[in-house]
């Protein structure tokens, strides 16, 4: 399988529900340390809704389904991360357009639009200790892999590695946004829950491509 069709996207969304349920407490903990502790709730709500949408949807195009997922997430989880992830799925899905399946090129376009959407909506950029710090390197890795003609699984393995590296790097950054910003240099050395969510998102895609 070198491309994700609508069923593959459905199983990614279902997998993400499972992942967020499993990671709920960890996300709460990370967000408690430098935020308000609701990240685990937001993400489980977001992907429960997305998985339900995937399950019920008669959409045949993967891009359309990803857009729909964004829309239900916006409703279900209107926290910072919820709305940013929703924006990401909507913009990314739009970038995939009418493609029947998502190959490495479409996937790079998806994640590029995803992360650009988040930066625009969040008025932020690389280096501010947010989800952008894991997703932006991942999008770049996907673009490079696509340009190098790598397979979908290889491309996503690269992207997951880049996301994890970005998440690691973000630990040493200082939060500039939201509730974390008030902790200033106390945030340095701590993991950002949003950046970790970025890793989980990419890994779910990678797991689907790998398995």
């Amino acid at each position: 399988m070198n491309a994700l069709d609508v069923d593959a996207v459905k199983s990614i969304l279902t997998r993400l529900k499972q992942v967020m349920d499993d990671e709920r407490d960890r996300l709460i903990e990370l967000d408690q340390a430098i935020g308000d502790g609701d990240l685990g709730l937001a993400m489980t709500k977001a992907f429960t809704a997305a998985a339900e949408e995937a399950d019920a949807s008669e959409e045949t195009l993967p891009g359309k389904l990803l857009m729909r997922a964004g829309m239900v997430i916006a409703k279900a989880a209107p926290s910072t991360m919820g709305t940013l992830v929703a924006t990401g799925f909507m913009r990314g899905g739009k970038a995939v357009g009418e493609a029947e399946a998502i190959g490495p090129g479409e996937l790079a376009a998806f994640w590029r639009a995803f992360v650009d959407g988040i930066m625009q909506r969040g008025k932020t950029q690389l280096g501010n200790k947010t989800i952008v710090d894991s997703l932006h390197p991942a999008a770049e890795a996907l673009e490079e892999a696509a340009a190098a003609g790598k397979s979908l699984a290889e491309a996503l393995a690269d992207a997951a590695a880049a996301a994890r590296k970005g998440n690691e790097a973000a630990k040493m950054m200082q939060s500039q946004h939201g509730r974390a910003a008030v902790f200033r240099d106390q945030t340095i050395g701590k993991e950002d829950g949003g950046a970790y969510v970025g890793v989980l998102l990419i890994e779910a895609f990678a797991a689907q491509a790998a398995g």
Partner: protein, 336 residues
Amino acid sequence: MVKKFLNDPKNFVVEMLEGIIAAHPRQLAYVADDVHCIVKAGERQPNKVAIATGGGSGHLPLFLGYVGEGLLDGCAVGDVFQSPSAEQMLEVTKAIDAGAGVLYIYGNYSGDIINFDMAAEMADMEGIRVESVIAADDVASAPKGEEGKRRGVAGIFYVYKCAGAMAAEGGTLEEVKRIAEKACANVRTMGVALTPCIVPEVGTPGFEIGEDEMEIGMGIHGERGIRRGPLRTADEIIDEIMPQIVDDLPFVQGDEVSVLVNSLGATPKEELYILYRRVSQILGEKGIRVFNTYVGEFATSMEMAGASVSLFRLDDELKRLLCKPAHTPFFVQPQL
């Protein structure tokens, strides 16, 4: 152990909203078949600028408690400590717009900003003029010079009050926005928390405060403050926070202010007045005149014990607007 009156914690917000609507049917209603989309009951006043707010639950009377005569027209209500969705904000916006545009007034929290921005874009596509003013009055949450990073807390009451009065007077969207911004520029708040609070769906406190500790500057969602230390006396606490409020604007001799002493939830009125006693002594010493005082629950964190003090600097215009009557299920004021 959660000592709360609850049914299924999952239904906390919806049941609370159903209770509010049931209790105040002549004053409040909801739109879009969604009890989170609260609007003032009754006819729209044609060409009045409408004001909307929104934010997470758990802060009553914030936010929906300020929907009513002389105040706000609508409020999108989120889950506990969570922003409502952009779509809910849009529904409220559409329902309250009376042709003169809608002003969003809300607190400086990234979730709310991101959703209100999204809602404003969507409203714009529907041909509704929307402006936004963000309250950021908590001096404990970022130093002077970085006011844009500050949280919005109880001081938003003054922003609602003055903007609401201006809209009731028939001000244009620009005028109402100017007043809201002016009110924001003239209000400063700082709080102290003694205990945490419990998000019903989580069931345990999101943070701890030691048995004999307090946290100066804690936010209304339990965001860490400036300093944690042993619980001090009421007077010592006020002596610590007042200079940080006064010096920030700064409020100076000859200024006239309105003072708001706010309970974060569990702290009883008795203690608020013990706090206010010292506030009034300090203001007296500094030659800052007190025009009037609000003491009670204006912005809470459910059952958190703690309090905040807000100072609002008045000029003739803000004073005139502050004095106007207002009437909601949670706040009533006659003409002062």
